[in-house]
């Protein structure tokens, strides 16, 4: 009797422990919502769908994509921190504008405090092109021309304040030249602008690829850390003497205060998803370069990127006015 009584107590104790940990242990027990702050059908949406599909098989629960586009990709994450519980059932894709916009204007969220960062996933391939009929054969030609004609070199971007705009201004500052930005609305318009030689250059993500393949546009440089396998002859920023990588990287996060065990589970599932051949092919289609960082490194990265962005934005005169 005595013996079995102790066993009962021990079992009961284990039971209590089990039930206390049930949230994190059994997670996930219902479908997870992943907010993608871009319209459905775009490159980010399609690659996130592929990653989520693979991760959901590992987690054993479906992941539903909720497209909440707007505010350069900030409306979705902002809505999440304002309304979702940190239970791991609502997470969001975090584009770099979530860190950049608060430096430029008043916003409702604080990137340092309001998120539980989970995993850093991938980034885009950006590049600078010019029309095949242009006088510019290499990036050096552009720099030489711009030195002789300050402000005369025009470049098309998919929008003011995007990584393309800020990257080009940083390059110009380092090269000691002055360029003129002409902001368009996305890759379709910048392709048309540079193809019709309305602007001399185009800075955009790989929407230019078919036109470069067809010989209608000339790719002058890419902004990734290593050369693109699709364009092995095109130099990177680093090779041209600009110590930068600009790939507008993104990861996923939940609202603040998530259980570290749940964060770890999500991290492991999404990390495995990055190695899934289906995900690898999808990312390659959009020239996205996997850029894995674990939870700790991602947190550090957020601080770093906020500091470096602040410097750039201040030099460009885009920072929000302090009261």
């Amino acid at each position: 009797m005595f013996q079995s009584g102790r066993l009962m107590i021990a079992l009961a104790a284990i039971g209590v422990l089990m039930s206390a940990g049930a949230g994190a242990q059994d997670y996930p027990t219902k479908p997870i919502t992943l907010i993608v702050p871009w319209p459905a059908g775009g490159s980010t949406d399609i690659s996130m769908r592929a990653i989520a599909d693979s991760a959901s098989k590992i987690l054993g629960q479906p992941i539903t994509i909720d497209n909440k586009a707007g505010g350069s990709g900030t409306v979705g994450p902002a809505t999440m921190v304002a309304s979702a519980k940190p239970d791991g059932y609502t997470i969001a894709q975090i584009p770099i504008t979530v860190f950049r916009l608060p430096l430029m204007q008043e916003v409702s969220w604080d990137p340092a405090k309001d998120f539980s960062y989970i995993i850093h996933l991938t980034g885009y391939t950006f590049g600078v092109t010019t029309s095949a009929e242009s006088q510019f054969k290499t990036w050096k030609d552009v720099v030489d021309y711009a030195k002789a004609n300050p402000g005369k070199v025009t470049y098309a971007t998919p929008g003011a304040g995007t990584s393309l705009h800020i990257g080009m201004e940083q390059i110009a500052a380092l090269a000691g030249i002055k360029l003129t930005q002409v902001p368009f609305k996305g890759g379709a318009e910048t392709n048309a602008a540079v193809l019709g030689q309305h602007t001399m250059l185009q800075a955009d993500s790989t929407g230019w690829r078919p036109l470069v393949d067809a010989g209608k546009l000339r790719l002058l440089m890419v902004w990734t850390s290593a050369r693109s396998p699709n364009f092995p002859d095109v130099p990177t920023l680093k090779e041209l003497g600009y110590p930068m990588v600009y790939d507008s990287p993104f990861g996923i996060a939940g609202p603040k205060g998530m259980d570290p065990k749940i964060v770890a589970k999500l991290h492991d599932a999404f990390k495995k998803a990055l190695d899934d051949p289906a995900v690898v092919t999808t990312l390659a289609k959009f020239d996205m370069v996997p850029n894995y960082k674990n939870t700790e490194d991602y947190k550090k990265f957020v601080t770093e990127v906020t500091n470096s962005e602040l410097k750039v934005i201040e030099t460009l005169g885009l920072a929000k006015k302090k009261n």
Binding site: P39, A40, G41, G42, S43, I46, R49, D66, N67, K68, A69, G70, G71, S72, V75, A78, M104, Q105, E106, S108, G151, T154, G159, A160, G161, T180, Q181, V182, P183, F184, K185, G186, A188, E189, N191, A192, A193, L195, G196, H198, T199, G207, R209, P210, L211, D213, A214, K216, K285, F286
Partner: protein, 502 residues
């Protein structure tokens, strides 16, 4: 000869039973989303994109394309029947289409819009096959300066849409432009007129504005006049256009097709601009412009042909340059890429089966749409016999669902209700919503291109007259503005002014 061989190959692909099925599903869904107000081709295509991933690229893209041109057919149905445009390109169809329905001529209005769409769609396809590669250069010849002048021309043309006071129409256009400015400034990304609201950062959505001003306002106005029951009492004479209708419509369909096709090639709002440009052109050419706004069949035939031809023209920059001229084409570009096909200068040579297969499927799809839509006319007309106490709640229900679906945002539903109230008072006081909506669409493009051209020209205003395409657009705009003041044309203007007094 080579073209014929290619077309043959294309039909070989398009006539495969599986592709025929996908084509039918596409045009069927397209007709549905076109008819349902608010749920446009964009939301339908983005929802269905993942479903197409499993099949071959041909069948997936054939279905997506089917949704797009199918919705162009369906979009006019609600414009005519209940004065709610199914999508932005059908705003103009409301003006005369709904008047025709009120006079018991809903059948001919629906019929001419389906047949006009078929003729225009078929012509656009022939043109797409024969001249696609050579026309691609037209799309890129338009830089910011050219777009600015085209938008100026567009805004001048707007004034032709009005039946009432010119001053009221211009006021509406100004309000439309200001509403279009809400949100992030497209050049410097500074928020304007957002009053610190996160929801307004992206600007006011077109769908809630259109649904409010047309749909909700129409219901509010009608509940007031419920005793009249004009729609139901009007005797429905015949379902298809008669000989006189055809005679009146032939010219507008032909002109609308050509106009629509060329404007469709240009990136940005091609189908919207082409539909009201066609309306303005027909009103200008008509011997009896006073009939416009009171149920003129030309005012339905021309714009409907124009927006369908524009849908065909829009494929040219996508297929030949990989440049999508509108959001729907951007989604289609996404579909191509998902299937590992990159639209662009190399696509026609690298994937001839796919390119010609899609073109051939659009012929088949257009024929299917005609077969699908003509018998439906009888059913739609019956819908008008529904008692108002069932019809009106249904309209409100569908507009709310449509607005919510287009953005997944309750805020947009509030915006729609607000614009519904505004639209109600506008009608009571004799202000028309069409100029407001069109200026709302054109205004941001006008501002953006003005500022871009000035950045490019380093502040030199002469850039607009030095560039030939831009100069021609501005010259036409001036002629249109000054023209009515000349004695020979004054007669027409007086006729137009007459119905102000009626």
């Amino acid at each position: 000869m080579e073209t014929l061989l290619n077309v043959g190959q294309g039909f070989g692909v398009a006539l495969l039973p599986i592709n025929l099925l996908y084509c039918f599903i596409g045009v069927f869904i397209g007709t549905l989303v076109g008819v349902l107000p608010g749920i446009g081709p964009i939301s339908a295509m983005s929802l269905l994109l993942p479903i197409t991933l499993s099949g071959t690229p041909e069948s997936g893209i054939i279905m997506m394309a089917g949704i797009y041109y199918g919705s162009m057919y369906g979009g006019s149905t609600t414009s005519i029947l209940v004065n709610i445009p199914g999508e932005a390109a059908s705003v103009v169809t409301c003006i005369d289409g709904h008047q025709m329905a009120k006079q018991g001529r809903a059948g001919p209005a629906l019929g001419i819009s389906a047949l006009g769409s078929f003729i225009a769609g078929t012509f656009a396809l022939v043109a797409l096959m024969l001249v696609a590669p050579s026309l691609a250069s037209v799309a890129i010849a338009f830089g910011p300066a050219e777009y600015f002048s085209l938008m100026v021309l567009g805004l001048v043309v707007l004034t032709f849409l009005t039946q009432g006071s010119m001053a009221k129409a211009l006021l509406m256009a100004c309000i439309g432009i200001v509403l279009g400015l809400v949100g992030l400034d497209s050049i410097t990304a500074q928020p304007r007129l957002t009053f610190g609201r996160l929801e307004l950062i992206d600007g006011i959505g077109l769908v809630p504005v259109v649904m409010g001003l047309f749909g909700v306002a129409e219901v509010l106005i009608n509940t007031e006049q419920i005793i009249k029951r004009d729609v139901i009492n009007a005797k429905i004479t015949h379902l298809l256009p008669n000989k006189a209708d055809w005679k009146a419509s032939a010219g507008p369909i032909g002109r609308g097709t050509i106009l629509g096709f060329f404007l469709g090639i240009l990136p940005g709002g091609g189908s919207v601009i082409s539909s009201f440009a066609s309306y303005a052109l027909e009103k200008r050419l008509s011997k009896t412009p006073e009939r416009f706004g009171n149920g003129a069949i030309e005012g339905v035939a021309g714009p409907e042909a124009a927006n369908n031809a524009a849908a065909g023209g829009a494929f040219i920059p996508l297929m030949t340059l990989g440049i999508p001229p509108n959001v729907v084409m951007a989604l289609l570009l996404g579909a191509f890429i998902v299937h590992g096909v990159q639209p662009g200068p190399l696509m026609i040579t690298q994937n001839p089966g796919l390119f010609w297969g899609i073109v051939a499927s659009m012929y088949i799809g257009n024929a299917m749409l005609l077969v699908l839509n003509l018998p439906l006319i009888g059913m739609w007309v019956q819908l008008l016999k529904l008692p108002y106490n069932i019809l009106f709640p249904l309209i409100i229900l569908f507009t709310i669902i449509g607005v919510y679906c287009s953005s997944n945002n309750v805020f947009d539903v509030y915006v729609m209700i607000a614009f519904g109230l505004i639209g109600y008072f506008m009608r009571k006081l004799g202000y028309e919503p069409a100029p407001l909506v069109l200026a709302f669409v054109l205004g941001p493009m006008l501002e953006n291109n003005l500022r871009k051209s000035l950045i490019l020209s380093q502040g030199d205003l002469f850039t607009f007259v030095e560039r030939p395409i831009s100069a021609v657009c501005l010259a036409i705009a001036v002629v249109l503005l000054v023209g009515p003041l000349l004695p020979s044309l004054r007669k027409k203007r007086e006729l137009v002014a007459l119905d102000e007094g009626v």
